[in-house]
Symmetry: C2
Subunit: 366 residues, 2 copies
């Protein structure tokens, strides 16, 4: 079972990018400057040479709501874009309690032991409320966070899922320019976060638990059909038999569903993050998937569609942000929404009324 | 199997509304006036008295892109809203070839034989291209379209799914004010149309065919989990055994999935639209569902959430319409999208560039 597949033959995108070691000399040079002295070009060069400090700084700029920072962020992303694309992007989701942190730590350690540079990102829209994300918390993955070949970043906090998703996608571009080979994006089942993550990765892995019966614990409907592989975790100790039964049931169920657009039949595995079992087969399956979808053209097509999708998502987010942040709209909206819900007002008329006052308001501005 | 359930005990919403016969005298009175003489109040009164001619006219106004008509449409909907809500809204989807028309005709005839007034609407975003919808085409359902208690309306044609969906939802309100007891909304599996329909109905029915194996024919992933009931059609002649097998497989598969928010376990049936078999059990299942969700409060909660959802959908559609219809944006967009897809331009920078020019442009307008 240690027949690890080698994906180096896969040229994921233009330019074969070699992971670099951290450049100590460069770090010292940059550290000696005042923070404000760093130009965009210096930042980008630092990122491309694998300088983690500068990478972190650039990501912080990307996550900033400050208007001036957003301009700089756009320049950084634009300059990193030609050097991006050459990683394997894997989305991981599962309900709280499924053992995601332990799984990612074990899986991550396996990848770094294979000499891969790994970035672990997170999409957690609830981080806005808690002002800190449960996901990407380094204390959850202590071993991995002290691994020199792993980089763990908590979820951006933001006003909306759209904002968090966009910043994460930009962060992926930067991490790829910095030479990371594998990028994991984790998310819990909050709102539409799985859809957002699915829209920015190559492969989507769903972690499940075998239940008291064989039913699923808490997973949201619709997520199952997004998965390229399902891993039934905690297949250890007394739980092994239950996990295997659940696996058999899922294999039966999945073959009733239509094939995804990729043409790939989703796989079902059992594994144990805690005991580091079954992880190799999951990785091998990801490599098979990449070979398969590179061969049939789906991989490239999906990445291009994702780029287009994110352009439109960014436009639509921008339109909504401008609207919902207008003080007049903010003031009226809560009351109107309440009336609509109580059926005292027509949802359409309310919407049209708000839109009219918004467009008049914009026109009056100088 | 003719143990039909009676839902009259269910008070679906405020006010018990009795279906009325067409008011011949009223028709003659309105016909004698010039079209332009009809006031909104007269239209609404006509709708409420069950006048199908005036209902059709009002729906045509709702479907119009003409700006003046949109103002009138908003008034009509607002005045009908207090008299709406008292119908059972059922969404029906299935792949082309599943026998949807035949099913709806047979199912519809059963409902009208039970003295129910039935409206059949359609959401078909492709109707824009063909300038006519395949769905709601009266020649497909000849018997039903000549049934005095049935009203069949083709899909609105529109520039976008959002527009089609909104107009259909407004049409539902008008049909309910006109006294219809059951409203079927059909859709084919195009784009996101199932999601839109699912968001405007109480119950979502998925029609399937048993395949050569037991796999699904052409259904889009994600739709299965939306269904409150699945009906495997064409369970007749040589196909009966295959249909029953498929049913058994689906029942097994479905119980692996989490329960929907309603708490209702989706049901799986076999039926034959052509031979009018199995339709009673489907209708009984719908009634059970209504009882179940009325009792646990989900029915009301869902309708309120749908109202709120449509308010936000209408706002977001309005924002997008204004943006994407700007000549400057139209002109730039195709070229920029092409560059993004070819990875010659960053999707975010492109989006931000377009947004900036849009907001500047709006501000310059008087």
């Amino acid at each position: 079972m240690s027949d690890l597949k080698d994906e180096s033959a896969l040229h994921v995108n233009k330019g074969v990018h070699q992971p670099s070691d951290v450049n100590n000399e460069a770090i010292n040079k940059f550290k000696s400057k005042k923070k404000s002295d760093i130009s965009v070009d210096e930042l980008v060069n630092g990122i491309r040479s694998g300088n983690i400090t500068l990478l972190s700084r650039a990501i912080t700029i990307i996550e900033s709501s400050n208007f001036a920072h957003q301009k700089i962020a756009a320049q950084i992303v634009e300059k990193c874009l030609p050097h991006s694309g050459n990683s394997i992007r894997i989305g991981i989701t599962g309900v709280p309690g499924v053992g995601k942190s332990t799984f990612i730590e074990s899986f991550g350690k396996k990848l770094t032991s294979m000499k891969k540079k790994l970035a672990v990102l997170a999409v957690d829209p609830s981080s806005e409320k808690t002002k800190g994300s449960i996901l990407g918390d380094k204390t959850r993955m202590e071993e991995l966070s002290s691994d020199p070949n792993a980089y763990i970043r908590p979820s951006p906090s933001s006003g909306s899922l759209g904002g968090v998703a966009r910043k994460t996608r930009e962060t992926i571009i930067l991490c790829e320019a910095a030479g990371f080979d594998v990028i994991l994006v984790e998310t819990v089942g909050v709102g539409q976060s799985e859809i957002a993550v699915h829209g920015m990765v190559d492969f989507f892995l769903l972690l499940l638990l075998a239940g008291a019966g064989d039913e699923l614990q808490g997973i949201k409907r619709g997520i199952m059909e997004m998965a390229d592989a399902i891993a039934i975790n905690k297949a250890d100790g007394d739980n092994i038999e239950k996990a295997r039964l659940a696996r058999a049931e899922f294999i039966n169920a999945l073959h009733l569903f239509p094939l995804p657009e990729s043409g790939w039949s989703p796989k079902v595995f059992t594994c144990s993050g805690l005991h580091t079992e079954g992880l190799t087969q999951i990785w091998n399956s990801i490599i098979e998937y990449l070979e398969f979808t590179n061969n049939n053209g789906y991989f490239k097509k999906r990445r291009l569609n994702q780029a287009k999708y994110w352009m439109y998502e960014t436009i639509n987010e921008g339109l909504k942000e401008n609207f919902y942040n207008q003080p007049e709209i903010k003031q009226k909206l809560e009351d109107l929404e309440d009336k609509v819900v109580k059926e005292q007002a027509c949802s359409f008329k309310t919407a049209r009324h708000l839109l009219e006052s918004y467009f008049k308001h914009i026109e009056r501005q100088r």
